[in-house]
Symmetry: C2
Subunit: 352 residues, 2 copies
């Protein structure tokens, strides 16, 4: 096998993302189309394929990093990209099941610039359609009918349990004044790492990979997920609203105990202490909703001064490095290795 | 094989139910014990193992028909009863996932004489723990790691999708003035028949049964489930509160469009029309909550006069007969056949 030429092979991350989207979306839409009315319509609204009145829409399908990873995962095992499609679809179904339920549990009224399902169709439909997508995810894998499909479903189930553990931690942390950096990393590993790791391992399982190879790809995905979330946490405070589509200081407005915040609080020193006092007062404040831009800017500046921003940037780079290193442990076509590396690079440099 | 002697072999249905309970409960508790805090506690409360303050309790575990069926299912395939235990546990986990979510969707505040989980621990925990039980059900089967386990999980997934379809129908029927007998039977087949059918087929799958045998047992279970629900619908109106533990006229108080009601409305004639007028007025009534015993008794008498009670009794007997007949199509130890018949008999004569 010729050595990879990153300058040629890894250039087009967007083509990889687009391939993942274009191969998996028709299969995802067909799977969702199996749901009985009105669940099919509610799900189509959630995915952005129709608007609240049922008219066709051109929803923002998100970055589609996970589907791209599932296809590369199958190729890493020497199978075709198409072999990874059911893995991509199953993972997207689980991801969206969790979004439907999390939005309701968290009371979030907006997602991707649209009203969430429970706001438009009511809480019962959000619960029911979430349940249906979860069941459908297992169905899409198990109907393949091979032992590999059984192994892939088992890994998906394990990842889903971690996802649920992560949401449970997230909810419990909301009611606590202090969360340690370790707790935050554990929660993010469960909420973001587990499913991303699953996406990049079960494509390979469907492609005939043994457990050792799947575990190695899973390790890559887990650390990539942590890098991804660290970058998300940075964008949630300092992201450009034009690029992210979110408000300025978005995570601060939601009082999120994200990595930069918990790292800043753990750092000690005058800025850290001042930040702690402000956030403690904010937690009890009744007029938090009406805070000015300046007040959020003060908090963001204190987080930065205490080192929370720099620590989180370094954490993203650390996790990125560990992810790339994990790939050394597995035999795969050099082109695929280069593409997985390129996707990891994209995850840490992205602006949205 | 000697012919069965029903007078000897089928006498002790309660022993069969007790065996199902005693073999499956420790495994169920161990599975639930794997959930991260506080989900393990919330689930233990739901199952009745602890009270709202966390003190050990001796909950009413229900009739435990499904676990008994899963063990007999394994024996029907020539395997040990123990082989069916993961099937029994997985089915109970799915059943309880659906109870947690349904109680929240329907706004039901009481189950088995206790406050429901969403009342005690809040809606978010009801959603989250329901999700976790669903994931755990797949885990319990898939960790067996055999191709049979994969096939059993696929059947469980199909049954769960029907269960969700049934709940979607139930919700949509609530908002409609008229529901046909066929629609009611379809909904009950999904909500009750599918999981009972799954319980009595996947034990056999784990025990090495082929698809033909599993399908036949599933047909037995589907019709038994419809018989079970018809009896439940009768008990929901005319059951003895001492035996059922429910209020008098329980389903009428909840305005349930159960089989006796829809059959009476479909029957035509003076009592049917008078019932239709009363229920239409009830649907718009604001003081329905304060109705006297006599007013519910009037409605029950009209349902009976229009033939809804007799039709539902006959329906239970019809479904019972079809269930028993389905067993003819499958080769199994005569003792097991007699026990499955005895359980079917029990389902239609029970008073609670």
């Amino acid at each position: 096998m010729p050595p990879a030429n990153p300058a040629v092979d890894t250039a087009d991350v967007h083509a990889l993302l687009e391939r993942g989207r274009s191969l998996s979306t028709p299969v995802l839409r067909a799977a969702v189309g199996r749901l009985a009315a009105p669940m099919d319509t509610v799900a189509a609204y959630h995915f952005g394929w129709i608007d609240a009145e049922g008219r066709p829409a051109d929803g923002d399908g998100g970055k589609a990093v996970r589907p791209a990873l599932s296809l590369l995962s199958a190729e890493a095992a020497g199978a075709t990209a198409e072999t990874g499609v059911p893995a991509a679809v199953a993972v997207e179904l689980v991801h969206n099941f969790s979004l439907l339920h999390d939005d309701l549990m968290d009371g979030d009224e907006q997602r991707r610039h649209r009203d969430t399902v429970w706001k438009v169709h009511g809480p019962a439909q959000a619960i029911l359609v979430g349940d249906a997508l979860f069941a459908l995810a297992n169905e899409v894998l198990l109907e393949i009918g091979t032992p590999e499909a059984g192994r892939a479903t088992r890994r998906l189930t394990t990842a889903t349990r971690k996802l649920i553990d992560g949401q449970a931690q997230d909810i419990s942390y909301e009611h606590r004044e202090r969360v340690t950096v370790e707790e935050c990393l554990e929660m993010e590993g469960n909420k973001t790492g587990a499913l991303l790791a699953c996406a990049v391992s079960i494509g390979a399982v469907l492609g005939g990979a043994d457990d050792r190879m799947a575990d190695t790809l899973e390790a890559y995905g887990h650390h990539l997920g942590l890098a991804f979330q660290a970058v998300d946490d940075l964008l949630g405070i300092w992201g450009d609203p034009e690029a992210t589509g979110k408000q300025t200081w978005s995570d601060l407005r939601q009082r999120k105990k994200s990595l930069p915040v918990v790292a800043a609080l753990a750092a000690g020193g005058p800025a850290s202490r001042r930040l702690g006092e402000l956030l403690a007062a904010d937690a009890k404040s009744n007029d938090f909703e009406t805070f000015s831009e300046e007040e959020f800017a003060t908090r963001a500046a204190l987080i930065e001064e205490a080192g929370g921003r720099e620590w989180t940037s370094q954490e993203a780079r650390r996790q990125h490095a560990v992810a790339i290193e994990a790939l050394d442990g597995v035999d795969m076509p050099e082109k695929v290795r280069a593409q997985l590396t390129a996707l990891a690079d994209f995850v840490v440099v992205r602006k949205r």
